[in-house]
């Protein structure tokens, strides 16, 4: 065994150029696999965390009735249990952050143009802690230290579509909970929302409950809390979402809840498609690698026919010849796979720290959404699978030449001219 390894190792060094070429082709395939997996994993992770951070938390609770009409963002679907849900979370998951908000159909305008937007009435102090969409600070005090009457925050892209800057004024118009239509003039743009989520950045205007609750008639006579359309929770451990969902649905049959995993299923679905595209390309490169491995192995067996004959004459068994050739190729395969993993891994780790900024590339790859900042995500699995795939390719490619070498008849092999 020791001798066979020694022989295999030295044989692998015998034709260095060919071994190097084989190693290079494996490095390319394996390295690209690791990079491609890290790339797509990074996109997926970024998109999932953006969705959690800006829109969904770990769990969103709404009424079943609200879900049916969500497209119209109604404010008149009863959600009497909102505070009970919040209390339930607080009790079962003491570390959970819980947030409620009211979603409404807003019209905003600057006097020249009017646009439909998604309005949110929130408590800015807590909301900005739960969702990473930028600070929700009030505007500076006006002349004589007077607090402005109304202000709001707007998605950065939405604001730029209007040509609005922080400090500019606009109006908000909406249908209230009681069905009347209210308009508020001179709303100061207090800040811009930046999250990476298109919903937030392109379509959202956030109104603080300080004036928004009254503006939308969110609290009726006798009610102690503002009306909410949704309740969100964020847990210390994202995996608590499922248990929390079960608890809510159990206690409140009229409610519906969606975990972050359910909410981002589409992200995984199209990233799976993206993965398949990449793996197809990587697969083709690995196939070329396999052919190169097979070629190296075949050439080695062919050139060393006489040597094989000698081994057989010395009493080496056919199976040992096969093992020898497999070992040789596997050595090369292992080096190529290791180097590929090292190079692909290093590149991925670098792009994990130095994200690629995509500008003006919102829709690439046949309309599949991409986050504005591309982080790679290097996982141990990527390295492990990369290495194993490289080894597997090398083994499969080496098998046939090795078997062929072992099938040689000793005498025929010996007759071969050196």
């Amino acid at each position: 065994m020791n001798f066979m390894l020694r022989m295999a190792f030295r044989n692998a060094l015998r034709n260095r150029r060919r071994s190097l070429f084989t190693i290079a082709s494996l490095v390319l395939g394996v390295g690209l696999f690791v990079a491609a997996k890290s790339f797509v994993d990074g996109i997926e992770m970024t998109m999932v965390s953006t969705q959690i951070d800006s829109e969904h938390g770990h769990l969103r609770v709404v009424t079943k009735a609200y879900l049916l009409d969500e497209d119209y963002r109604p404010l008149d679907v009863p959600f009497d249990d909102a505070s009970a849900v919040a209390a339930l979370f607080a009790k079962t998951f003491p570390t959970a952050q819980v947030e409620s908000r009211a979603q409404f159909m807003a019209q905003i305008g600057d006097g020249v143009r009017t646009l439909n937007a998604r309005g949110l009435v929130v408590n800015p102090e807590t909301y900005e802690k739960m969702f990473r969409i930028g600070a929700l600070s009030p505007p500076p005090l006006g002349e004589g230290g007077v607090q402005p009457k109304a202000w709001a925050w707007m998605g950065a892209d939405l604001a730029s579509a209007f040509g609005l800057k922080v400090g500019d004024r606009f109006f908000v118009k909406a249908k209230t909970r009681t069905g009347t239509v209210n308009a508020q003039d001179g709303v100061i743009l207090a800040g811009l929302l930046q999250s990476g989520s298109a919903m937030t950045d392109n379509f959202t205007v956030i109104v603080p409950s300080s004036w928004g609750a009254k503006f939308l008639n969110l609290r009726r006579e006798g009610e102690t809390v503002d009306y909410a359309t949704e309740v969100f929770a964020r847990f210390g451990d994202p995996n608590d979402a499922e248990a929390a969902e079960a608890a809510v649905l159990d206690a409140h049959p009229s409610l519906d809840a969606e975990t972050w995993r359910e909410n981002t299923a589409f992200v995984r679905a199209f990233n799976d498609i993206r993965r398949q595209h990449f793996y197809l390309v990587v697969g083709i490169i690995l196939l070329i690698g396999a052919l190169s491995v097979a070629n190296t192995s075949l050439m080695a067996a062919f050139e060393r026919t006489k040597e094989i004959g000698t081994l057989l004459a010395l009493g080496y068994r056919a199976s040992s010849v096969r093992a020898l050739f497999l070992t040789e190729t596997l050595l090369i395969g292992a080096v190529g796979s290791l180097l590929g993993v090292a190079i692909g891994g290093t590149a991925s780790a670098w792009f994990e720290r130095h994200p690629i900024r995509l500008t003006g590339l919102d829709e690439v790859e046949g309309g599949m959404p991409m986050p504005p900042l591309l982080y790679f995500k290097l996982s141990p699995e990527a390295l492990l699978y990369g290495f194993l795939i490289g080894l597997m390719v090398a083994t499969v490619a080496a098998l046939l030449p090795a078997i062929r070498a072992s099938k040689l008849d000793p005498l025929t092999a010996l007759r071969e001219e050196a």
Binding site: F3, R6, M7, R10, N11, R14, K306, E307, G309, T310, L311, L312, A313, L314, G315, Y316, R317, A318, S319, P410, L411, L414, A418
Partner: protein, 248 residues
């Protein structure tokens, strides 16, 4: 089926053991059966006795190599049988034949056929490695002893491409001998060597025959070399035409 109790370990009982080391019984090897058929050997009966130092001679194409290959279980006659130390090898499969070659037969080739990635030392050691059942200490001792006999102690770390043809063939002799096989077969071992080196190599083989009682069968074209042999078997057209023993 007759089997020999003796193992491959030590052919020191030359002359005592009546079972031939290798025996060809009516061995016939036919190439291209049919119209252009060639009978490489034709009904050859040959007993190689323990301690023989036999030259196989004859014109080109007379079947010398074929006889050696049959004796060495590298090739199987189409008709007839081959016994190695009394064991009928005719029905053995590839692995079993490899086992016979491994334990009982040493080969020396015309073009040396050393393993190019191994040093002189390793080439000899490799033979013991394949044999198995030799402790590292014993292996070291036997290889070093062999290198001393061959006069290759200084060259032991050189690879074949750093050795002259004569040195390479010495290593090959060491490789064949170190495992103490029942018989050593050499197909024109000196054909690639100059005159003096050839004498050297045959002299070395002869010394091994005398000192270590190793059994040798070698083929040669060289009239000078056949004078070193103690037994000369002459082949013509695949048939043995003479078998002469010389007094020692």
């Amino acid at each position: 089926m007759s089997t020999s109790p003796s193992s491959s370990s030590s052919p020191t009982s030359a002359g005592v053991d009546s079972v031939p080391v290798v025996r060809l019984e009516n061995a016939t090897r036919v190439y291209n059966p049919g119209e252009n058929e060639v009978r490489a050997i034709d009904g050859v009966n040959l007993d190689v006795a323990r301690g023989d130092f036999m030259a196989l001679v004859g014109p080109s194409g007379s079947g010398k190599s074929t006889v050696l290959h049959s004796l060495g279980c590298l090739d199987r006659p189409d008709v007839g049988r081959v016994f190695v130390e009394g064991q009928d090898t005719t029905t053995l499969n590839g692995d079993a034949l490899a086992q016979v070659r491994n334990q009982r037969i040493g080969f020396i080739f015309q073009s040396f056929n050393l393993i190019p990635v191994f040093s002189a030392y390793e080439n000899i050691e490799f033979s013991l490695q394949i044999l198995g059942n030799v402790s590292p200490a014993e292996s070291r001792e036997r290889v070093n002893e062999m290198l001393a006999i061959l006069g290759l102690e200084k060259q032991k770390d050189r690879r074949p491409n750093q050795l002259s043809g004569g040195q390479q063939q010495r290593v090959a002799i060491g490789r064949a001998l170190v495992k103490r096989p029942a018989i050593i077969l050499a197909d024109e071992p000196t054909a690639n060597l100059d005159r003096r080196t050839s004498e050297d190599i045959i002299g070395l083989m002869r010394r091994m025959n005398e000192d270590k009682h190793a059994t040798f069968v070698f083929s040669t074209h060289d009239e000078h070399l056949m004078h070193h042999a103690r037994r000369v078997v002459r082949l013509v057209d695949g048939k043995i035409v003479s078998d002469e023993r010389k007094a020692a």
